[in-house]
Amino acid sequence: MYCVRNVTDDLIWIGGNDRQHPIFEAAHPVPRGVSYNSYLLLDEKTVLFDTVDRAIQTQFFENLDHALDGRKLDYIFVHHMEPDHAATLGDLMLRHPEARVVCNGKAINMIRQFHAADPKNAILVGDGDTLSTGRHNFTFVSAPMVHWPEVVVSYDSTDKILFSADAFGTFGALNGILFADEVDWERDWLDEYRRYYTNIVGKYGPQVSALLGKAAGLDIQTVCPLHGPVWRKDFSKIVARYAKWAAYEPEVQGVVIPFASIYGGTETAANILACRLAELGVPVQMHDVSVTHYSYALADCFKYSHIVFAAPTYNNGLFDPMEHLLRDLVHHNLQNRKAALIQNGSWAPASGKIMAGLLEQMKDIELLAPVFTLKSTLSPGQEKELEELAQAIAASVKGSAAPAAREQAAKKPKGFVCKICGFIYESDTLPEDYICPICHRPASDFAPLE
């Protein structure tokens, strides 16, 4: 039995939901399931926009048969060859040999690789090429490495619809809804959009920025992604999030503490630090990386401006769940964050040095303090050191220099102070193109120190 919804009068969502497979891409938990979106346009020619994962192929083919209602399938637009969208393409070509595949040369190669099939009469399209299906006119726009090299998006200039491939998608089954304006998006969906983006696409920020730049030149009324709700209102709010994520800019001035703890000593230190930060009015989040899947911790490392990694030593190295998270952050190109480290080791603490080494592989990660070390558990008096660490982090979160830095600045009055946040640039001259590293205001917002 079919299960479809109309996007517009002549565009039908014929995708489906998979709630039975707990892991997406053999890596990411999807406790809310995931949708695989496919769309059918009923113009003078019929157009299928991508297929679906094998998990829901029965539903998909029933939906397609219903929506076609006896018409022949003219075109299959292939935006992305990853099998969660293209696994069913091989079967589709057998069922609809009359349909012409529309894709680029890289996708053709992948069709051969994945399906041992050569699409007959394929129409190869490049960046900027157009195709008319009757009332609708499509333009193809290359989006390489968002997040595979063959990815294209297509734009229907008639109804102002962007078929955006994996961009603007999310984890989470569509439980009856189809449009983002049918849900409380910030409350119920934003976190899963962030987890999807950061884990799946996060490495390719510059390429996503390039796509956002191309999209900014189009009049977009509706966005049809390959996962998650369709956007027909308020598209700017997801674009604003994407702009931050792609630029590796934090959304929240606050602290996330990913920690690992074998017998509780490290966790207690992390808990105390979190308490002091909260008392100082700093937003704080914690993840036990041995328990919470790293995809959640990674998403919050993109969300927050400050990260405190706390982990024990194990086999003279770094405890594996934390090493996994940090390597994943390196792979995902996380950058531009302030950080602090807490290490634990009962006889030879080594985790701090390894964590610092992994952070060095990322761009623009600033350590706010020397590694905080505990041996087995916090020793008497160390809670005061933790409080000082909390104060230093809080001062940084709030955009002011740490007390020690301020004292140092007071001794060296030469320089310029940012009138917005108080940051002091120590030099006799201030470059004209200088940007405040704390609040990003231009040189014109600086005043000479008196």
Partner: protein
Amino acid sequence: MKYICDLCGFVYDEAEQGPMPDDYVCPLCGVDKSHFEPAD
């Protein structure tokens, strides 16, 4: 001389990076040197 990756479009600029090593792999998509062709 500039070279462009035929898969993802990454550009390698000899003027900045020197001659491309034989074991060079594209830092963006990971393919080997054979995928680079002279950029127009």
